[in-house]
């Protein structure tokens, strides 16, 4: 008898092209619709076919949004799955797959033979294996078969009645088999369903970013594909047309950023999306945006470097890149969301800050966050009303008028009778080249003056646990919010609390005091502790310990619990 209650981890493994993604998409959608809390994340190799990829789906009573090492059910669709995930397989893991593909395990392991090939033959096409697998999983969970059928009907509707019927047949076979083995092998799964979850949204980081960017009034993207930054480009290409978004696939990243800054100059609201390697090529544009005071929003989906690095894996090592990109000195802002709702929010804030202060603004995400899917209530998506802050120019318009707060009202060509010039040279108020030392100082100080406003508007970090009374403070940023929340809950120690930063630069003045008289532990996915260094630079904080990971995988809950236990 094996009993699972309140929290299961279901992992699907297979070669690229074997339908692991399809199974994930179907299973997650159906489970959410049935009212289960779901979270899914994936890891995959940089290849189109073959290799060994896996997806983890967590079904939990409480909302969870983090990766666990533990595997309760492993669906192995291919013989390479077992060696690939060996370290995560324990004697409590239930392995499901065809006998021939789940060999090489110790005798303690609980293996269930699922004759996928036989089912496929009966159905007449191996393409239905994915649907059979989803059926088996739902059968084991004793989920409502009706919801699954209804979903398949909608999902395959445009492919015709025959495809719908075949998929339903596949689902029924899988479901019956799953139910049968659960009974036969004594597997009991108890998971709470809730009506509220049925009405929730199911969003990946990528989708939240796309929706957030639309909510921000974005109407232009020029970019060059690079994983994991491509998702936003694809999203806007597919969804953007009805919103009037211009999508330009640039010849290279240098073109992308110069193009997008040109679009802002003419009154569009543009974003570029890329990863670290592509961003390296964009760096000149950041400096350009800095001096011509033309806004730009940059999304960097981080992956491990240097150079090509690990193209499909995750890391948080481009903070310094974003922080110091571009020659010369000029203000900027950097956001690093940790949940889909934060992604949705900071996408809008990034456009707001860029438009208001006429500066480059970064959204730093990573492969793990972009590819992770979770259910969340729609109310958590907060809107910031977009304002374009463009003025109608008069004949005496001065693009770089020296003002109290450093912000010169921004005009665009063709709106008003004034002329709008921008110049990458140091310039005077009329945007003409100058080599006057006095004008240089005035312009440089004007640009830096904007930093005061940018800092004042900086987002406060999210407090996790009782920060005020804790003696140890765990600091995280970006995609590590979920894992820290869950690890702290498991630890249940009153002395430990955490802060999560979804804006990492500039840091708000007001959160500095939260650090006083505490042991500071900074957790991040890089080698050198980049955010820890930034905290020291900005707040003068002394960091006691760094928890670092740079193998291309996200932190797991178990890993953090162990590391935090070792602290005390």
């Amino acid at each position: 008898m094996k009993r699972f209650s309140g929290d299961i981890s279901l992992v699907l493994g297979g070669a690229a092209g074997q339908g692991v993604q399809t199974v994930e998409a179907l299973l997650v959608a159906v489970l959410k619709r049935e009212g289960y809390n779901v979270f899914a994340c994936k890891e995959y190799m940089s290849r189109i076919r073959g290799g060994s990829n896996s997806t983890e789906i967590r079904v939990t009573n409480k909302k969870r949004s983090s990766f666990v090492d533990r595997i309760d059910f492993l669906f192995a669709m291919d013989k390479d799955v077992i060696p690939h995930l060996q370290k995560r397989i324990s004697k409590d893991t239930i392995l499901l797959g065809e006998q021939a593909k789940v060999c090489g395990l110790s005798e303690e392991c609980h293996v269930i033979d699922v004759p996928f090939t036989r089912f496929a033959n009966e159905l007449g096409n191996p393409i239905y294996t994915s649907t059979v697998a989803v059926g088996v999983a739902l059968g084991i969970l004793k989920a409502d078969e009706k919801v699954f059928e209804q979903y398949l009907r909608e999902h395959f509707a445009r492919k015709g009645e025959e495809v719908v019927a075949k998929n339903i047949e596949a689902a029924e076979k899988g479901y019956a088999f799953g139910k049968h083995i659960a009974y036969h092998e004594g597997i009991e799964v108890h998971l709470a369903k809730s009506q509220a979850v049925e009405d929730e949204l199911l969003l990946s980081g990528d989708e939240a970013l796309g929706l957030g960017v639309l909510a921000a009034g974005c109407n232009y993207i020029s970019s060059y594909p690079m994983s994991p930054g491509t998702g936003l480009l694809t999203f806007l290409a597919q969804q953007g047309k009805k919103f009037g978004v211009v999508v330009d696939q640039a010849e290279d990243e240098i073109s992308a950023i110069n193009h997008s800054i040109g679009a802002w100059y003419a009154g569009a609201r543009a974003i570029v999306t890329t990863s670290g390697g592509g961003f390296d090529l964009m760096v000149e544009g950041i400096s350009l945006s800095g001096i011509i005071e033309t806004p730009i929003v940059v999304h960097i989906g981080q992956r491990p470097g240097p150079a090509t690095g690990l193209p499909t894996r995750t890391e948080q090592a481009d903070l310094n890149l974003a922080l110091y990109a571009g020659h010369g000195e000029f203000p900027r802002a950097i956001f690093a969301p940790g949940t889909p709702e934060e992604v949705f929010l900071v996408a809008q804030q990034a456009f707001h800050i860029a438009a208001k202060y006429q500066i480059p603004v970064f959204i730093l995400t990573d492969q793990y966050l972009l590819d992770s899917v979770r259910s969340l209530p729609k109310e958590r998506l907060q809107n910031i009303k977009p304002e374009n802050r463009i003025i109608e120019t008069k004949t005496d318009y001065k693009r770089y008028a020296l003002t109290e707060d450093g912000v010169s009202p921004r005009g665009v060509p063709g709106y008003g009778v004034g002329l709008v010039g921008v110049d990458s040279d140091e310039h005077d108020e009329m945007a003409h080249i100058t080599e006057s030392a006095e004008m240089r100082v005035a312009m440089h100080e004007k640009r830096w003056k904007k930093m005061e406003g940018i800092r004042e508007e900086a987002f406060m970090p999210t407090e996790i646990g009782d920060v005020k009374h804790a003696d140890t403070l765990v600091i995280c940023w970006g995609s590590n919010r979920g894992v820290v929340e869950e690890a702290l809950e498991i630890l249940g120690q009153e002395g430990i609390a955490a802060l999560h930063f979804h804006q990492v630069y500039p840091l708000p003045e007001k959160s500095k005091k939260l650090f006083s008289k505490k042991k500071i532990v900074v957790l991040e996915n890089n080698f050198s502790g980049q955010f820890a260094d930034l905290l020291t630079r900005e707040y003068g904080v002394k960091v006691t310990e760094n928890i670092l990971k740079y193998d291309g995988d996200p932190f797991s809950v178990e890993e953090i619990v162990l590391k935090l236990k070792a602290l005390s």
Binding site: L201, A215, N258, G262, Y265, A266, P413, G414, V417, V422
Partner: protein
């Protein structure tokens, strides 16, 4: 026709060009062309990169985007897309357009936006003091290649033609009236118009002078069929006798801004349809 004086900068504006520079006549020609075509200064944007030619927008009264080296074209395309009602001209040198910006040059031609590229081609790097440019002649002695340029020169007209550019012209800054007509035709052309203007650098290029160019060049006559691409290529490849005028023109190819967006409403007026967004969000349930 509007008054050309409308484009003049105030008296006493400091100009960084050397006396006798071929940039002066081009500046004058552009002002004349815009005036004759009735383009109001506020409806014109000049994009430039870096170099002596790229300083042009500082010397006439229009909107301008003086960006980075080699990057005059990417913002020029974006500006045309963001507001198709504007007249957009990219003005830069041979180094900026064909060297540093070579990839953008190729892919701008492929896109065919309705913009004009005026390339001030002096076959040398002026601002960095006399090094070879992509269009320098083989054998030209310069500080970095003291025994002369060792590679073949870049042929912008042939490259543009082979990428199906819709307007390809060569002009001479020493001939104001003819060049003005070529630039006017380029501005009127619907699509990407390349005008490579020979412009002598009186300080650093002692080989390719006004005299040299005058002797080497000739105008294509009225019988020249501008739609004959093979003939145009033949002219482009002839580096012994340089053909001047509109070498090739093709009408009717869709422009990039009409392919990549709908209508011509400037994007500064655009706002996201929040009701449609709400509906889209609902589909994630």
């Amino acid at each position: 026709m509007i008054d050309k004086k409308l484009y003049d900068m105030p008296q006493g504006t400091d100009m960084a060009w050397c006396p006798g520079c071929g940039n002066f006549p081009i500046l004058n020609i552009v002002k004349m062309a815009l005036a004759e075509l009735d383009r109001e200064p506020q409806d014109v944007v000049i994009c430039s990169g870096i170099g002596q030619a790229a300083k042009t927008p500082h010397y006439l009264r229009v909107n301008y985007f003086n960006g980075l080296h080699g990057r005059a074209l990417p913002p020029a395309i974006a500006i045309k897309v963001a507001n198709p009602k504007l007249t957009v001209i990219a003005e830069s040198g041979d180094g900026d357009t064909y060297g540093e910006g070579g990839n953008h040059f190729m892919h701008t031609i492929r896109r065919n936006p309705d913009i004009v590229s005026i390339v001030h081609d002096n076959m040398i790097y002026g601002l960095t003091k006399g090094q070879a440019s992509p269009t320098s002649e083989k054998g030209l002695k310069n500080p970095i290649q003291p025994t002369g340029v060792i590679v073949d020169q870049f042929n912008p007209l042939a490259v543009a033609l082979s990428l199906d550019a819709t307007f390809v012209a060569r002009a001479f800054s020493g001939d104001i009236l003819q060049t003005k007509e070529i630039i006017k035709a380029a501005i009127r052309h619907k699509g990407y118009a390349l005008v490579d203007v020979f412009q002598p650098c009186v300080v650093f290029n002692k080989q390719n002078t006004y005299q040299w160019f005058k002797e080497k060049s000739y105008y294509v006559d009225e019988k020249h069929d501008k739609t004959d691409k093979l003939k145009a290529l033949e002219l482009a490849f002839d580096l012994d006798r340089l053909a001047l005028g509109v070498i090739y023109q093709r009408e009717g190819k869709p422009t990039y801004e009409t392919l990549v967006r709908e209508g011509d409403e400037p994007l500064y007026k655009h706002a996201t349809d929040m009701t449609a967004l709400e509906r889209l969000i609902e589909t994630y349930k």
